[in-house]
């Protein structure tokens, strides 16, 4: 019975996360999905994954969402949708019906005679997966650094351009007979556009 309540709560939180009109509410409903899913994982006999899901899914990812929403703001965009609601619901009902017809009822086929421990499976049998995870993490960090680096360079270019604008009149006044623009010609409009791009 408690499994049914947990499953209903998880699906309800997921639907609320999709239908919420504010992004912050969506992120909090998503954290609810992760928390309830971690309880389900624990009840399925996977406590390690339940802990990881609770800390990463309901903790770290929610903080990331709140951080991104606070930077980007809330656009709303609820008045226009890609598909009509009835068509989307019909497609989803068709998909869920076909998938449920294929996999339900799910029966246990019996416990393996001597299953290895989680640590040995993860570090020995699935060592390639661990390598892929490391590569994924480094790729994510590189993507993040590249995306944020672009913001810093454009800001630095703007600051540099502002500093040049401020220093140019003072150099013209303090010069001893030589016009500073004679030594360093002004960039052409095409060069200015390149710098700003």
């Amino acid at each position: 019975m408690i499994d049914a309540v947990l499953v209903a709560g998880t699906v309800l939180c997921a639907v609320r996360a999709i239908r919420a009109t504010q992004l912050l509410s969506s992120a909090l409903w998503l954290a609810g999905v992760s928390a309830l899913a971690s309880i389900l994982l624990y009840r399925l006999g996977a406590p390690q994954i339940a802990v990881i899901e609770l800390s990463v899914g309901a903790g770290l990812v929610t903080v990331l969402f709140v951080f991104a929403i606070s930077i980007a703001g809330d656009d709303g965009l609820t008045e226009r949708e890609f598909l009509p609601n009835w068509l989307a619901l019909g497609l989803i009902a068709l998909f869920a019906g076909l998938l449920g017809w294929m996999i339900l009822p799910l029966e246990e086929t019996g416990v393996a005679a001597a299953e290895a421990t989680f640590e040995s499976v993860l570090w020995s049998d699935r060592a390639l997966d661990v390598l892929v995870q490391i590569v994924l993490i480094f790729s994510g960090v590189l993507c993040l650094v590249t995306l944020l680096k672009e913001r810093h360079t454009s800001a630095q270019q703007q600051a540099l351009a502002g500093r040049e604008e401020r220093e140019r009149p003072s150099a013209a006044v303090s010069g001893n007979g030589h016009h500073p623009q004679a030594a360093v010609p002004d960039p052409s409009p095409a060069e200015v556009e390149e710098i700003h791009a």
Binding site: A4, V7, T10, V11, A14, A17, I18, L23, S26, A27, A37, L40, L41, L44, G45, A46, I49, E53, V56, G57, V61, L64, F65, A68, I71, A72, G73, D75, L77, E81, F82, L91, I92, F95, A96, L99, G100, P105, L106, E108, T109, V111, A112, E115, A116, V121, L122, D125, R126, D129, V132, Q133, L136, I137, G140, C143, L144, L147, L148, R151
Partner: protein, 101 residues
């Protein structure tokens, strides 16, 4: 009805909710949220399949990979959404179709 079947129904519900979100939403951050819900369904399905086949530890080790990939996707997707908002001024997916021929 056994716990495994309830979880399988939950997997169907999560996958359906995630696909529904991908079909109707135009907000970039909402798209990432819908992807997260989809991956939660896949995660539950992996562990339930491991439990059903008597190889729960194999299912757990696969689920770790899914969690790592899911988190990286969320981080990169949110960073892209922030940059799109900064450059285009909106989070609307339709606004990104300027290069369409």
């Amino acid at each position: 009805m056994s716990a495994l079947n309830w979880v399988t129904l939950g997997v169907l519900g999560l996958l359906g909710a995630g696909l529904y979100g991908l079909l109707i939403t135009r907000n970039l951050i909402k798209v990432v949220i819908a992807l997260q819900i989809l991956v939660k369904g896949a995660l539950l399905a992996l562990v339930a399949a491991g439990q059903a086949s008597g190889q729960i530890n194999l299912g757990q080790s696969l689920a770790v990979t899914v969690i790592v990939a899911d988190t990286v996707v969320a981080v990169v997707g949110l960073a892209l959404a922030v940059q799109v908002k900064r450059l285009v001024g909106t989070l609307d997916v339709k606004a990104l179709s300027n290069l369409r021929g």
